[in-house]
Symmetry: C2
Subunit: 392 residues, 2 copies
């Protein structure tokens, strides 16, 4: 059936790129388990990755999805696959220690007449368990299983015009979420009530586009938690004097755009004002500095150079590639803005530039999602770049 979102030629182009890499590595079958990669290759968008499922991509012929029988209908409704290429395993194979879906999956490989000799698997993928790997090893003894983690992820790195159009819609959702957050933050408001406003904006979106679930919950932290990156919000009221670090996302049709901003409740400290100046200097400078042809390592080095000039040592990377996102991460797990990363930025790459500083004395999270263009970078999102001060 025609895909509900992307044209068939978009999927054809993606598959052709994957097969070129498969050929270069001598793979005659690729077993795709990362839900982002499955979505990229066939468009299937369902919350079924908590049970074993795989997209089998042979060197020649149509790919086939194999997963839980109750999800077959959902694959049919959301993917570009033909009904014959959507194969469900029966329910008794769920949580069954004696017999597993991966036995069924290897039978499916045989039943389609495929006799793969060199099979790419995703050893780093979140939803491909050690138990599944061991069963695959035992039931597909004639094949050499080689690690093809991130093979599809790397092809995803450069976005097509269709993908960029969707990411621009995601940026509108993110702007709505950021505005909801900043206008909700004031002393005495519970953190959870700020997040309720954020989620309603992320999902309700704008009249022309609604949002879907993000890969990562809104990160909204105040008080002692503001100096950490990954804790959940609480239901405690915001203090009269605190910093709130926001890291929010907009997700449109599984394409996700993230951004960080910091809001001060009460009087900003001298430290916070200094961190604001540094963060803005870094971002202003880097928006002019980055251009296609540079490596991610070069971008990191320049970012670090400016931070060091202000006496700031930042251990964590200052950004990563973004695009399709399912839980648990919004990063594509490929390019990172850090020392030594040799990835060359090319037009169509999309990067979350996140020169955030977490420290004991104070922390600030001001970031920008960027699109690499033919001549430099463009901010995908339009939110004032500054240290915000809360309503009182």
């Amino acid at each position: 059936m025609p895909h509900p979102i992307f044209e068939q030629r978009e999927f054809d182009s993606r598959l052709a790129q994957i097969r070129a890499v498969m050929a270069s590595r001598g793979l005659d079958l690729l077993m795709v388990t990362d839900p982002c990669n499955i979505y990229y290759l066939c468009g299937y968008d369902g919350w079924s990755f908590y049970t074993p499922q795989v997209l089998l991509v042979p060197a020649v012929g149509a790919p086939a999805w194999v997963g839980r029988r109750m999800d077959v209908r959902g694959v049919g409704l959301t993917s570009c696959l033909s009904a014959d290429d959507i194969i469900g395993y029966p329910e008794h194979l769920i949580q069954n220690e004696a017999e597993t879906p991966y036995g069924f999956i290897t039978q499916t490989i045989a039943s389609r007449g495929w006799k793969p000799r060199r099979v790419g698997i995703e050893k780093q993928a979140y939803y491909f368990s050690v138990a599944s790997f061991e069963i695959l090893t035992a039931t597909l003894p004639a094949a050499e299983l080689v690690d093809a983690s991130y093979l599809v992820n790397w092809v995803r790195f450069i976005k097509s015009p269709q993908e960029i159009a969707v990411m621009r819609q995601a940026a509108r959702l993110l702007e709505a979420a950021m505005e909801a957050a900043i206008s909700a933050i004031r002393p005495g408001v519970r953190e959870c009530d700020v997040v309720a406003r954020i989620c309603a904006a992320q999902i309700g979106g704008v009249p022309e586009a609604g949002g879907v679930y993000c890969s990562t919950p809104a990160l909204v932290m105040s008080g002692a938690r503001a100096d950490t990156p990954h804790l959940p919000w609480t239901d405690q009221p915001l203090a009269a004097q605190t910093t709130v670090n926001l890291e929010l996302m907009g997700n449109r049709l599984r394409y996700q755009v993230p951004m960080g901003r910091t809001v001060v409740v009460g009087q900003p400290s001298a430290t916070m004002l200094r961190l604001e100046a540094v963060a803005l200097e870094v971002i202003d400078h880097m928006l002019r500095f980055i251009e296609p042809g540079m490596t991610c390592g070069q971008v990191s080095d320049e970012t670090q150079r400016i931070l060091r000039r202000h006496g700031i040592a930042k251990e964590s990377r200052s950004g990563y590639s973004i695009g399709i996102a399912f839980p648990p991460t919004g990063g594509e797990l490929t390019a990172s803005l850090r020392a030594g990363d040799m990835t060359v930025l090319r037009p169509g790459a999309t990067i979350h530039f996140l020169p955030a500083i977490w420290a004991d004395g104070g922390s600030i999270v001001i970031s920008e999602p960027l699109l690499v263009t033919g001549s430099g970078v463009e901010c995908l999102c339009n939110v004032p770049r500054k240290l915000f001060h809360s309503q009182t």
Copy 2:
């Protein structure tokens, strides 16, 4: 430091139960990677499971968390572990093919003076990759690695009074979410706007308790999608005549309570009215039928018997154990209500009883989260049990 939620003796009791199982299996170290299990054993609640992290539980002595250095502060703020037992690996080990966190983790085992001979690992866990497993195998050659998947999950099956109190709070969040959904559903409203209302209620919660992110997004499906279990909502308006299947959760301090309800927009068909009668009969009957001492298989058999009497064949299980939930699933991955499951229901078990029917002709999702008591079961949530009709 004192844990912000549970008393230390609660954690002591949990650890003692785990160690009893470890001893029975001859394990001198358990490597816990499932974030639900880490939360259960030490209370750490952070969105850091997308990078390698582990709770090392020795047979004797304090457990230690090892993870990304930037998350050390967050573990300190949310867990019962001492600072000495929270160990961060440096940032360059993230996405580093040459050197990995699992090398650091095995070094940590040695540096603490542990020389484990038989180590339990979670081969089925979502966030323990094949790549990590291979490195562990290579760097811990003196130890026998044995599968201890679900060891902690099975201890979690029976809830303490403290846990049940938190689940009752989660049920209040769920009631708020369900009420928001049902009151928002009407012809012409976009599905995403219904979900925006649901999320705001799930998280904003009630005055005495706010919510956190759920393990699973709200499942809100109409039209052709209502006959599938796992597709995301869309931003299309609800039709004048459709069925909306809702599967929603409330999550309080990571304890999650789920529930399903079906709303008809427009005139209910004869099929839907028949399915409503069947679903209500099944649930009413089973609420009286279930008692402690029964096996999950017996509960399933009785459920199936009534469905069959109405000519309905249900392949999927009719429920599962619930409790702590991180993405990607709200199930505890232990007991299932299906044929042959020999798990005995005991007081303190909490079960999502979900005799949902998905079919071509129509589908209905009416379910109840249940607590097994000393004499039967109690519904954790109070939402009218019926086929709802939308506002017009």
